[in-house]
């Protein structure tokens, strides 16, 4: 079974970031404040299912495409 990622969250569900599977994307995500250990919550799904909006650490809301969200593995 593949690892759980942000994509597998349901609306309103929370998860904790474990690691990233893509190095280039991981730098962008780190700089945007998505750190391993941070709690994320899926807040909204755009019409047609993509992009999604996640809340990071309660602090702020980040919108990502599904392929970007798939890089974030959850614990």
């Amino acid at each position: 079974m593949s690892a759980r990622t942000v994509c597998s969250l349901r609306k309103g569900e929370k998860g904790v970031i474990k690691s990233f599977t893509n190095r280039e994307m991981s730098l962008k995500l780190l700089e945007m404040g998505c750190l391993p250990g941070s709690e994320v919550r899926l807040d909204a799904i755009a019409p047609f299912g993509d992009p999604i909006c996640i809340n990071v650490g309660g602090c702020y809301s980040l919108s990502l495409r599904l392929n970007e969200a798939a890089v974030i593995e959850l614990e």
């Binding site: 190095r23 280039e24 994307m25 991981s26 730098l27 962008k28 995500l29 780190l30 700089e31 945007m32 404040g33 750190l35 807040d43 909204a44 755009a46 019409p47 047609f48 299912g49 993509d50 992009p51 909006c53 809340n55 650490g57 309660g58 602090c59 702020y60 809301s61 980040l62 919108s63 990502l64 495409r65 392929n67 970007e68």
Partner: protein, 711 residues
């Protein structure tokens, strides 16, 4: 030590309130320009400090650097930040950097702070958005933070102006300190990095470890490094086996490791940290799969209503004012060539520019309100999936909407699209959106052939056709983007990743200022070209080779003999035009445009409007030799209705010809300013030429098909 000129730079994350602080610091003493050597918009301004080193009054220059999450650039704009901060010889290199941080998300904002601080520029941390933080149950201890970071930390509220005085005072204190305090690096290099930094420092006489490290990581972005230096740095990367990607991630993680304990000491949470209630509430509506689109459609409707209905009042006034000025000038100045050049050439040209100011002002004010409030980010989210189908990005929505007013500022807004590929496609298709310069052409041609009958009792047929032309432009833009995406290879995956700012009331001063800026850039950018063309066209239409014009005049007078003077004058003017340089060129290109249904007179108008479409109606007015008010649509319309086809003797402007012209103008790339801005934004002639050729081909083919089908 006495410093005459003090420079301060503002850096910060997007949405941290950097521009608001910039406005609060400088007020209206600001200007926009370009950073030397790069085409990134630079906002700079001044504020005054009294009592600095005994001086009664010192001017401090503030430069607002593009918002960024780190010193490693992700888009074209962001490269400027390091180009300045890593180069002490840069004319904008600051004496003090103010890092604006969003207190409600301190951990992430401090990443950029530690990076900038490590570069060795004296820094101040301005803590903004403390009100948002407290509404999220967070309290931030600025003193504690200052002690740990070892820099001045100033609490500000950029929107109300609170703490700005303290911030200026902090700038003053730093400047007055004669020697820099010893720098404590937040990031300590490891292993082989240490040796490599040592070598780079020695090679290029650098006094800062982190700047040396950035020479290695970012030398391709540094405009101040020559090619041999870059090549040398590349060999060092090989020598030390430096893996940049790996380094960047591990550096960022290491920085966060330092930041985390600092933040946990300085920031205390009372209760649950959650975004403001209204932001969550509004998001649930504006991102909704039904209500999100309903709201967006409504917003678009208001935008269109504003630029087409509300703008028509000031536009009519400007139009009348221009006509009066021309008439007045004609009478006041002595008759002659100079009078004609000033009135028919220059003043008519200026009139053609200022008529569009209301539309552009209103559109950019509305776009700025949508951006300031935070709504535009939501639009980008709900449009991203749709836009991606055509090879574009959710962020392409802003240039496409702005394109309805003018493609020139619209193309400049594409700089925020970080994926180079998606940005290029957006630039290539934005001119297909029907800009306000096409509106007068649409209006007059529709008035000629479309009846004013009502459809379903309340839709005006003319209005529907106009709406159809705008839709056609949008379909053309999306369709071309899709077609181009099949031919242009994509080198990198596009990415979206967008921070959703909290909703805020727009600041009207800021809206007004951005409106003023866009109008100014339009008047200057497009204005120059339109002016020049009006003058050239006037010359070409007023003079002909050798004696051809005088001969034509004498011939007509001889032929018409006893006819009334008025009729003779009209015939003379038309014969003179036919024999002018412009007329001869019109005849020259007639074979090419005949299949589209056009004659040599339309040919002249097409040629003239190649520089700027808005010239078309004015040129038609000149060519069909209407005296007096050349902008008067009614008279132009009557003249066009009376115009006979020289070959068939029937009316010239048949529905087939008008629809063919409409199709041509929907697609054709008839705007020098757009070509110039595409050249500037893509750094070369390749893309503007490709764009010109494909849009012209599209215009020709559709006009041809329309004419042949309808006639």
């Amino acid at each position: 030590m006495k410093q005459v000129h003090i420079k301060v730079a503002l850096v910060g994350n997007p949405n941290a309130g950097k521009s608001t602080l910039f406005n609060a610091l400088t007020g209206l003493r600001q200007k926009t320009g370009n950073f030397p050597g790069v085409t990134v918009e630079k906002k700079s301004g001044t504020f005054r400090l009294s009592g600095l080193e005994g001086q009664p009054d010192t001017a401090v220059t503030v430069v607002d650097l593009p918002g960024t999450y780190s010193i490693y650039p992700k888009s074209k704009d962001e490269t400027v930040v390091m180009d300045i901060l890593a180069n002490p010889k840069h004319p904008d290199y600051p004496d003090v950097v103010i890092i604006v941080a969003d207190a409600s998300n301190l951990q992430r904002n401090l990443l950029l702070f530690t990076e900038v601080s490590d570069l060795g520029v004296p820094s101040i941390l301005a803590l903004n958005m403390l009100d948002v933080a407290s509404s999220m149950n967070l309290t931030v201890n600025a003193v504690q933070l200052a002690m740990q970071l070892n820099v001045p930390v100033i609490r500000i509220n950029a929107r109300t102006g609170e703490g700005i005085g303290n911030l200026k005072e902090a700038v003053k204190q730093i400047v007055e300190k004669s020697e820099k305090p010893a720098l404590q690096y937040f990031y300590e290099p490891k292993g082989k990095e240490v040796e490599m930094i040592e070598e780079v420092r020695e090679l290029y006489q650098l006094d800062n470890d982190y700047v040396a490290l950035q020479y290695v990581c970012q030398h391709d972005n540094f405009s101040f490094l020559e090619q041999p230096v870059r090549a040398k740095l590349d060999t060092l990367i090989e020598k030390y086996g430096f893996d940049e990607n790996h380094f960047l991630a591990s550096e960022t993680v290491a920085r966060y490791e330092k930041i985390k304990p600092i933040v946990s000491k300085a920031v205390k949470s009372q209760g649950i940290t959650e975004q403001p209630y209204w932001t969550r509430k509004l998001d649930s509506i504006l991102l909704h799969s039904v209500w999100g689109y309903v709201t967006f459609a409504f917003v678009l409707l208001v935008v269109f209503q504003a630029i087409f209905a509300w703008a028509s009042y000031p536009m009519d006034m400007l139009d009348a004012a221009t006509a009066q000025t021309i008439e007045w000038t004609k009478e006041v100045l002595p008759k002659g060539v100079l009078n004609d050049l000033i009135t028919d050439g220059i003043l008519a040209g200026i009139g053609g520019i200022i008529i569009f100011i209301p539309q552009i002002a209103i559109l950019f004010a509305l776009v700025s309100v949508l951006e300031e409030s935070g709504y535009m980010a939501r639009v980008m989210v709900i449009m991203d999936k749709l836009m991606r189908r055509f090879g574009l990005n959710g962020r392409s929505v802003v240039p496409l909407i702005s394109g309805v007013a003018c493609a020139v500022p619209a193309i400049m807004t594409t700089r925020s699209i970080s994926s180079r590929y998606e940005r290029l496609l957006t630039i290539l298709v934005t001119p297909l959106m029907s800009c306000s310069a096409r509106l007068p052409i649409y209006t007059i041609l529709i008035a000629l052939v479309v009846p004013t009958t009502k459809v379903f009792g309340f839709f005006n047929m003319q209005g529907l056709v106009l709406f159809g032309l705008y839709v056609l432009g949008l379909v053309g833009a999306l369709g071309s983007a899709w077609l181009l995406s099949l031919f242009i290879p994509r080198k990198e995956p596009g990415y979206f990743m967008l921070e959703m700012p909290t909703y805020k009331w727009p600041r009207w001063g800021h809206v007004g200022f951005s409106m003023y800026e866009s109008v100014k850039s339009f008047v200057l950018e497009a204005g120059k070209v339109i002016m020049a063309i009006s003058i050239i066209l006037w010359v070409l239409a007023s003079y002909g080779p050798g004696d051809s014009m005088r001969n034509a005049e004498n011939r007509v007078i001889a032929e018409m003999g006893t006819k009334p003077q008025e009729e003779i004058n009209v015939a003379v003017a038309s014969a003179k035009l036919e024999n002018s340089y412009a007329g001869q060129f019109g005849h020259f290109i007639e074979p090419v445009i005949r299949p589209l249904g056009y004659d040599w007179k339309i040919g002249i108008a097409l040629l003239a409007s190649f520089a700027a479409r808005e010239v078309f109606v004015g040129t038609m007015a000149t060519i069909y030799s209407i005296g007096g008010d050349s902008e008067d649509v009614l008279t132009v319309k009557e003249k066009l209705l009376n115009e006979k086809n020289p070959y068939t003797g029937a009316a010239m402007f048949t529905p087939a010809v008008c629809y063919s012209l409409l199709m041509f103008y929907v697609f054709a790339m008839m705007c020098m300013s757009t070509i110039a801005v595409v050249y500037r934004e893509t750094h070369g002639w390749k893309w503007p030429l490709i764009q010109l050729v494909y849009l012209m081909a599209l215009a020709y083919v559709s006009a041809f098909a329309t004419f042949q089908l309808l006639s």
